[in-house]
Amino acid sequence: MSAILKVNDLKKGDILRNVSFEIGEGEIVAVMGPSGSGKSTLLYNVSGMDKPDDGEVMLCGTEITGLSEDEKAELRLNRMGFVFQQMNMLDNLNIIDNIVLPAVHADRKHKREYYAKAKALMDSFHIGDLAERKVNEVSGGQLQRACICRSMMMGPEIIFADEPTGALNQTAASEVMEAFIRMNIEGTTVLMVTHDSRVAAICERILYILDGEIRGELKLGKYAEGDSRVREQKTVRWLEDMGW
């Protein structure tokens, strides 16, 4: 399995100190740690959303720390997706328009195809009937799934997710996690930051970060229907061992 993300000696102020790790193609990995440990900063710096002070980040075969803003925008548009805790969508557009927004902006000629693709994605995440709804007319879980659809529009190689279930209730969080699992099964790599052990337990690997350093790693293997409880228990025990 070749690495889709290779991080080497990454530094960002006092928050990240010489962080190194790799994510293989098709993996789904969670980053956990207490508040202020640096997990979100790590995500922003490895996804090119923020600029690290030092170190290397090879994303999809490209060293991204030296890229210009426009080159990074190109990378974000075509090769990666991003899912936020706050489910940012533009109020002025309906759900489907929000989903196709980056794709249509990049390539107006294939607008019709993008709308068809968005509709198919929404159907696959069980929100197809919400296409014409306004942003404030759907639930949190539905909105987060719509955000996942948006991140999937350009067929990204990797998706970064920052606390994707952080603002959701338990039912909505389960719906969203199902969406992530399906996405991963279909071949998309996922790196997510979470503080929810149940969410982390569906991942193949968990990285534990504390005071800006990776302090441990738990390998859970590929998720399979029915083993959630065991994975959760294993995760909780490991986290206790790590001192959380």
């Binding site: 959303m49 990666m80 991003f82 936020f84 109020d91 902006h105």
Partner: protein
């Protein structure tokens, strides 16, 4: 399609902000379009009239004997002369003239008759066609049509003679009320018949070949010793006189449009910054999902582009609608503009230019999104320093007051009695002109004696004007019309130095000083004709320079008239004031009656009437512009305060909600906002008064310089400047604040908890 939907939804969601942006864009486009429309229209109409009427390039007025042979010889010698003609002008006594039921006794102009010119300088009709009057017909200067309500068919009486008003004429030279003479056109036969009723003077007119130097020609004419017993006028001066009375209004509108453009740019800047602050997380999201900086800029810019296009279109329509009534007077005086296509193109260009300037500033402000990284935009609360939204209230209050005060101060200045002192006329109540009589000196002496015995007269002074030959420091000779008398009595406004007190002192008008190349302290030799037939040379020092628009702006003042001086007096003027100001009208009327006969050659004028007539149209135009400006600034101020206070309330909504949760009432919160609003509006008012007086005066001085009024100072009406205008601005601002603060009532205490908080 999606962009369109975004724009429409965004406009719907932010109705007030979008409406304000649209209004700013429309008003700016309208004002700039309107000023260019009027300016291009006026300029084109004047050019067309002057071209079709074939206005002379150089014109010398002359009273008295005329040596035609000498003039012909001069003309034939000069290669730059294309055509020359001598037009007779029969000067009439205004008291003899009446049209319909209107007497011209109070008219201040030099009214007279003339025949249609033979070669050029034609008097034309409403279609700019050369008029050929039939016997018994008279064509009336178009500027009198409205003033006296004259209709074709009315009877014009000159003494006992009668003529029928057949229509109206445009006079490319004397159309403007600022030109002091008016020509009535009659047939050659009628002119001959009426000749005994007036005194004849001559207009010696030249058309020069294209590319000729008019100034060089004027110098050559003067040096040739040709008839020059009156002012000389050039094509450029005629054009300026034509353009001024309406042009000044256009300049005021232009000034207002520049201020509005500035206000629009400032407001839109703050609107954008607030919008970006509000949409920061959206921008972060757009960056995070890979939309490039250019596309984000495009996304925001397209909304302003849409508003700007709508505003521009509305502005152009408004400019066309308002341009029609504002241009009526110009159209009547100078005719339809010929090149309407070009004029409309210029107007559209003006409106587009206004929008382009605004859009450039919009673009510069939107570029700020470039600097934010996706993470900063998404999560950092302090990524952008919050702009003080109260500051525009101060600046715009000041700008609104400035917009009201500058046109108003110009109006009050032109209206004030002392304004004449900028015009080269002493600040007296009444002036008596003694001209066109065989013996000006004797008549003036008799008149002075009559006045001295009149107990109602408080003060008077006799000024006698004669033409003197002077020798400049470089040896060149220059003919100078010098007004001699006691200049300390009713002094004019001196831009430099003071009035002459001694025989060896002389003051020059700005135009003369420029043409003679002299400044204060320089000397010039003035040649006096002595009673013994000899010439006495006086070495005069230039003691002062003053602004003047009378007699083509080329005058001088001295104290040369001594008993042994034999230089002929061309005309005399007696300036006087009465003990009781209220009597001025009656006194003038009485003296007008007493000296009504033409042989007297006396004209008694109330200075206030003279001003009213000369600047009446300009003052009316500026009054209109100042009313429009006041209304406009009221609307702008209302919109701006309404908008910015709403933005402040929006930004502090969660704080206000928290205060409500802690027990504050809507009234408490509103009162605090009102106090803060006053804190920013009151300095704006002080700043506005200052700006309206000091920089406003400099701007107005720049405009009035074009009228010949130099070193200009506002003559302000304190009640308006310090009370009425600030009160108006304060009432509008507080009214707008009151409307905005109604929003405070809609803030709920629970919003601070996050639920139901407006995005």
């Amino acid at each position: 399609m999606m962009n369109k939907r975004m724009i429409i939804n965004d406009i719907k969601a932010n109705r007030l902000v979008s409406a304000a942006t649209f209004i700013f864009m429309a008003v700016t486009a309208m004002l700039l379009g309107l000023s260019i429309f009027l300016f291009a229209g006026l300029s084109d109409s004047i050019d067309r009239l002057m071209a079709e009427a074939e206005t002379p390039d150089f014109l010398q007025m002359h009273t008295g004997e005329l040596n035609k042979k000498q003039l012909m010889a001069f003309t034939q010698e000069r290669e730059d002369v294309e055509k020359m003609q001598i037009c007779a002008f029969l000067n009439l006594q205004n008291s003899q003239i009446s049209i319909g039921s209107n007497s011209f006794v109070n008219n201040m102009q030099d009214n007279g008759l003339c025949c249609q010119s033979e070669l050029f300088d034609y008097l034309v009709d409403a279609e700019n066609k050369v008029i050929q009057p039939a016997e018994g017909e008279v064509y009336i200067p178009v500027c009198y049509r409205k003033e006296y309500g004259i209709k074709p068919g009315d009877i014009m009486r000159i003494g006992s003679e009668e003529l029928t008003a057949a229509g109206f004429l445009r006079d490319s030279q004397m159309n403007s009320m600022m030109a002091s003479s008016k020509r009535f056109l009659v047939s050659d036969a009628d002119y001959e018949k009426l000749r005994p009723l007036g005194s004849e003077e001559y207009l010696i007119e030249f058309r020069l070949r294209e590319g000729s130097d008019i100034n060089a020609f004027a110098t050559a004419y003067r040096d040739a010793g040709l008839p020059d017993n009156g002012p000389a006028i050039t094509y450029a001066l005629i054009r300026m006189m034509n353009a001024l009375s309406d042009g000044l209004m256009i300049l005021v509108i232009l000034l207002i449009s520049v201020v509005v453009l500035f206000i629009s740019m400032l407001c839109i800047r703050y609107i954008i910054l607030t919008q970006l602050e509000k949409d920061r997380s959206d921008i972060g999201m757009l960056k995070a999902v890979g939309i490039s900086r250019q596309d984000i800029r495009k996304l925001y810019f397209s909304k302003y582009l849409f508003l700007s296009a709508a505003g521009c279109l509305t502005g152009i329509i408004l400019a066309v609608i308002t341009g029609q009534p504002l241009g009526t007077h110009m159209k009547e005086l100078y005719g339809e503009a010929g090149n309407t296509g070009l004029i409309y193109s210029c107007m559209i260009f003006g409106s587009l230019a206004a929008e382009a300037i605004i859009l450039l500033s919009v673009y510069a402000n939107i570029r700020r999104t470039d600097k934010m990284t996706a993470v900063e935009a998404l999560y950092s609360k302090n990524a952008q320093v919050k702009k003080n939204l109260w500051l525009p209230a101060t600046v715009i209050t000041a700008a609104a007051l400035f917009m009201i005060l500058v046109p108003w101060n110009m109006r009050s200045t032109l209206n004030a009695p002392e304004f004449v002192t900028y015009m080269g006329i002493g600040e007296s109540q009444i002036r008596i002109d003694i001209r066109q009589t065989d013996n000006v000196e004797d008549k003036a002496a008799a008149m002075t004696e009559e006045i001295e015995q009149d107990k109602r007269v408080r003060d008077h002074v006799l000024m006698q004007t004669g033409s003197y030959k002077t020798v400049l420091p470089d040896g060149a000779s220059y003919d100078l019309m010098i007004e001699n008398g006691d200049h300390s009595r009713f002094p004019v406004r001196y831009t430099e130095g003071r009035y002459p007190e001694k025989e060896n002192e002389i003051a020059l008008s700005v135009l003369n000083a420029e043409e003679m190349g002299l400044k204060q302290g320089d000397t010039v030799i003035v040649c006096r004709e002595m009673k013994d037939g000899g010439i006495s040379e006086v070495n005069c020092t230039v003691c002062g320079i003053y602004s003047d628009i009378t007699n083509g702006g080329k005058t001088a003042k001295g104290c040369l008239k001594k008993p042994d001086d034999a230089t002929p007096v061309m005309w005399s003027i007696i300036y006087l004031s009465l003990c009781d100001d209220q009597l001025a009208g009656a006194w003038t009327g009485e003296y007008q009656q007493r000296h009504a006969s033409f042989e007297d050659g006396v004209r008694v004028t109330l200075i206030a009437d003279y001003l009213k007539e000369t600047y009446g149209q300009t003052i009316r135009n500026i009054s209109n512009a100042s009313a429009v400006s006041a209304a406009m600034s009221g609307i702008i101020l209302l919109v701006v305060i309404l908008l910015f206070l709403r933005l402040v309330i929006w930004r502090e909504r969660s704080d206000s909600s928290l205060r409500k949760a802690l027990g504050f009432t809507s009234t408490d919160i509103s009162r605090d906002y009102l106090k803060k609003a006053l804190l920013y509006i009151l300095p704006g008012i002080v700043l506005g008064i200052f700006a309206g007086i000091v920089p406003g005066q400099s701007l107005a001085a720049m405009l009035l310089r074009s009228m010949g009024a130099y070193s200009f100072h506002f003559i302000i009406e304190p009640a308006v400047v310090y009370a009425a205008a600030p009160a108006f601005v304060l009432i509008v601002a507080l009214g707008a604040a009151h409307l905005s603060l109604m929003e405070v009532k809609r803030i709920r205490a629970y919003e601070c908890l996050g639920a139901g908080k407006a995005k």
